[in-house]
């Protein structure tokens, strides 16, 4: 037994030394000039290949390692220069010309020119139905791209589009001399290229990548734009939020990209905690497919309105998001700035009005308090994805409120793949499901969010079965309206239209909340958090205090 006691004592000693060593290494690494900014995330980079990547952190990484033609400015409301320094349209908006930086270089020393941009766009068009399918939507309506000079990019469209800059803000320019070797198998090889080591030209170079573990970025001194203040930054990936917060508290990392609501209180005071309106909105989805076969009463606008009035958003925000959210009202959240229509207000929580609307619609309550529609109970399954944990507590708030208006709800929790399968079944026709809950993360440009309710998105992004010719016509119109003021008016009109038709009842727009050690400053706020794909500003400007 004495031997085990000795082993135990040694283990305790090792643990104590380990704690000391961890602290020492943490402070040691940031003591260098410039320093290394250590960011923790509960998300991860699923792939370094832009034709494969799915997770937002992968797209955030591309923003910092690749050149983009343009980016959003500090306010996230206007476009600013990135690789392109100026741009203009001609030929009635069908031709766009970009002037790009001169003297720029890829991280392997090769010259970066407008030809790389033209090649990327042309490749995306050529293999849109194959290896480059991920980028297909970004090059929609483009006929051709060319680089008449090393610093001039000309893009020609079949029709004058309304969201050219919004699309190019999301398109990473790839090095032709690297990627052109991976066009085999009719472009399919674009997807199998691991892209590690990564040749880029952003403010940072990716120097180390271990999947689901760490991504280390070093300052790129030959970057064409604003140089980073730090020597390096690292993104450490955690699969457990409690461990992530514990790592911040023990200074193993310097910041947390998205703080869970339950941890905000414990971090305030010791860390700088920022909370800004975000672009992640939760929703109640009502199957709005006009061809829906069962429970067609859900297509009745009075029933939908009654459901909207049975949602206690204040309680959802207080209980589920601990106050770090705002009432949802529109498919375009307020954090997108001018694209949000402020006239689209959230419906008030009014059970008496909801009951009145259902009475008016002729759905009488049975002896059990549940209403009847066409002889059946108004009792519905609500599909909830297990990877959106807020849906569980939100459902617990909705269920009793809906019961009070004579509608019975049953939760059907499924993983996201199975949930989408249940929503879109059979064969992407959206005929079977009644209600669901999920969330949407909007982009700044409204085109993408407005597209999810078009008929063309059946089997794609649609999760409501909404298909309306008048709406589709408005959508196409806004896509082809180069005048941004006119486009905004159309976008506002579409939001009003969607609120009237209610494929979604918007519940809450979550705040983006992050926490940073008081030793660091300079992070730029954005509705996507400090590490985002909106612009290159945040981690370029972060610095030791």
């Amino acid at each position: 037994m004495r031997k085990w006691t000795a082993v135990l004592a040694a283990a305790i000693l090792a643990a104590a030394l380990a704690g000391y060593a961890t602290k020492a290494s943490g402070s040691g690494s940031s003591a260098k000039a410039g320093g290394t900014f250590r960011l923790g995330t509960s998300s991860r980079i699923d792939s370094l290949n832009p034709y494969v990547a799915f997770n937002q952190d992968a797209y955030n990484t591309f923003e910092y390692v690749y050149p983009f033609l343009i980016q959003y400015d500090k306010t996230n409301g206007a476009f600013a220069a990135d690789f392109a320094t100026s741009w203009h349209s001609s030929n009635g908006g069908k031709t766009w010309t970009f002037k790009t930086r001169s003297g720029a270089k890829w991280s392997d020393g090769q010259p970066l020119t407008a030809k790389d941009a033209a090649w990327t766009i042309s490749t995306d068009i050529k293999y849109a139905a194959g290896g480059a399918a991920n980028a297909a939507g970004l090059v929609a309506h483009i006929k051709s791209a060319s680089a008449p000079t090393a610093n001039t990019l000309v893009v020609r469209y079949a029709q004058a589009p309304g969201n050219v800059l919004g699309q190019f803000q999301q398109l990473a320019i790839l090095p032709q001399h690297i990627w052109s070797k991976h066009l085999g198998n009719k472009g399919t090889n674009l997807k199998t290229f691991s892209n590690n080591p990564l040749v880029g030209a952003g403010p940072f170079k990716l120097t180390k990548f271990k999947k689901d573990n760490i991504a280390l970025f070093q300052r790129n001194d030959s970057f064409y734009g604003e140089k980073p203040k730090v020597d390096a930054f690292g993104l450490q990936m955690f699969s457990n939020e409690d461990a992530l917060v514990a790592a911040l508290k023990s200074h193993q990392i310097d910041a947390v990209e998205a703080v869970p609501a339950t941890a905000i209180k414990t971090l305030k005071g010791s860390f700088n905690v920022r909370s800004v309106p975000g672009v992640d909105q939760t929703d109640l989805i009502i199957n709005s497919n006009p061809k829906k076969t069962a429970h067609r009463e859900l297509l009745n606008l009075k029933v939908k309105a009654a459901m909207a009035h049975a949602v206690d958003r204040a309680q959802i925000i207080r209980v589920v998001f601990l106050g770090y959210a705002r009432p949802g009202s529109s498919i375009i959240p307020p954090a997108t700035g001018a694209w949000h229509n402020p006239a689209v207000k959230p419906e008030g929580f009014d059970l008496a009005l909801a009951n009145k609307l259902l009475d008016q619609a002729g759905f009488k309550k049975g002896s059990d308090g549940i209403r009847r529609a066409s002889g059946h109970k108004m009792a519905y399954d609500v599909i909830t994805p297990t990877d959106v944990p807020s849906t569980n507590r939100t459902f617990q708030i909705l269920q009793p409120a809906f019961k009070k208006i004579g509608i019975q709800l049953r939760q059907r929790a499924l993983d996201s793949t199975a949930a989408f399968d249940a929503i879109s079944s059979p064969d992407s026709k959206y005929l079977k499901f009644d209600l669901a809950m999920w969330d949407w993360v909007a982009l700044i440009d409204p085109d993408f969010m407005l597209s999810v309710t078009t008929c063309a998105q059946f089997g794609g992004w649609s999760d409501s079965g909404f298909c309306d010719k008048r709406y589709d016509s408005m959508y196409s119109q806004q896509q082809l309206t180069p005048n941004q003021a006119k486009r905004k008016a159309l976008v506002w009109k579409m939001q009003r239209y969607l609120q009237a038709k209610r494929p979604y009842v918007w519940l809450a727009a979550q705040n983006a909340v992050w926490a940073v050690s008081k030793n660091w400053g300079g992070l730029v706020a954005s509705p996507q958090g400090p590490f985002n794909s909106i612009n290159k500003l945040s981690l370029t400007r972060v610095h030791q205090q």
Binding site: A11, A14, A15, A16, L17, A18, G19, A21, T22, S25, G26, G28, T36, S47, N49, V52, A53, F54, A129, G130, G131, A133, N134, A136, G137, A140, Q170, K191, T192, S194, K210, K211, D212, N213, I214, G234, Q236, M237, F238, S239, N240, D242, A243, L244, A246, A247, K249, S250, Q252, D415, S416, T417, A418, F420, D421, F448, A456, G459, G460, W461
Partner: protein, 320 residues
């Protein structure tokens, strides 16, 4: 000859088990609703063409039977396919995840085998005493603890003393060899301890039960009557006869090492095979799932085969 027959039969049975498992795995994952395309096609600006292209790329446009034949053909050539999720060879993905998992799970299992066997023997030998009460209660306590809860408690307890996530401190700049080893040791301690403590309970209870059975046998009574020393009775008569169930348990535990530990890897952000399998299930990444379960099947079958062969050596009755 009897021995050779036994070995051959066991080998044939092992091969058949692997083949059946491979077939069941292929069918099982495809029974789950949804497909890899459902998830992967849902990226900003994806078009209906994206879905078609993905289906063609993954071979999901072919019939199930065709997919099965292709899978077997590839397997015969040692090719586990390409992951749907990250388009990289499954072999590479599995190798990385396994290399990450094995040291941590092995250390935890070793801890459990050593301490669990020891406490199991002690508690059986000291039956009816306080020692037995303490060991059994402790073992039951750890055995009944949800793994992730125990992991989280250790995270809370040791936050600031030991690292709470990851396999190493990747921010260390040019660490010396010993600094690196120490760093790895610090990171592996909590996850391995969590696994070890949970398995420790199981080992203690099973070893105790096997020991109690043999300690009640007549030959132990005879040995006592002959006046043998307690240590000799324990080692030569009781423990040797209790080895059969212990061998099975150790073999099974070692076989399952390659499965990693999903909950522990999640709590401690350990990028191992358990998390890789969990993600593959969520993403319906069939090649990755098939590859991971093939490795698991082969490992469990192999360890069982080794246990069977050890039985041959440990238990003379088998040759009779």
């Amino acid at each position: 000859m009897k021995g050779a027959d036994y070995v051959l039969k066991r080998l044939a049975f092992a091969v058949l088990t692997v083949f059946i498992a491979v077939t069941i795995n292929f069918a099982l994952f495809r029974l789950a609703p949804g497909s890899a395309v459902t998830n992967l096609a849902r990226v900003p600006h994806a078009t209906p063409e994206t879905r078609l292209a993905l289906k063609r790329q993954f071979g999901l446009d072919k019939s199930r039977f065709q997919q099965y034949v292709i899978y077997l053909q590839q397997l015969a050539h040692g090719n586990l396919g390409i992951s749907f999720a990250n388009s990289q060879p499954v072999t590479d993905n599995l190798r990385t995840a396994l290399i990450n998992s094995l040291p941590m799970v092995f250390l935890g299992t070793l801890f459990a085998i050593v301490f669990g066997t020891l406490t199991g023997i002690i508690s059986a030998w000291r039956r009816g005493t306080t020692v037995e009460g303490v060991t059994v209660t402790t073992a039951l306590g750890f055995y009944s603890m949800p793994t992730h809860w125990l992991g989280l408690m250790l995270v809370i307890l040791f936050a600031g003393v030991l690292p709470t996530g990851g396999m190493s401190n990747e921010f260390l700049i040019n660490p010396s060899f010993w600094t690196h080893v120490k760093d790895l040791g610090e990171h592996i301690l909590l996850p391995a301890l969590t696994l070890g403590l949970v398995l420790f309970g199981e080992y203690t209870l099973i070893v105790r039960s096997a020991m109690l059975e043999t300690l009640g046998e007549d030959y132990v009574l005879t040995a006592r009557a002959k006046g043998l020393r307690p240590a000799a009775i324990l080692r030569r008569h009781a423990l040797r006869n209790a080895l059969l169930p212990i061998t099975t348990l150790v073999a099974l535990s070692l076989g399952y090492i390659v499965a990693g530990a999903i909950l522990i890897e999640t709590v401690f952000s350990w990028p191992g095979i358990g998390r890789a399998v969990y993600d593959a299930v969520l993403q319906r990444d069939y090649p990755m799932l098939q590859g991971a379960f093939l490795v698991l099947t082969v490992s469990v079958v192999l360890c069982n085969l080794i246990a069977d062969l050890l039985y041959f050596r440990l238990d003379p009755r088998i040759t009779e």
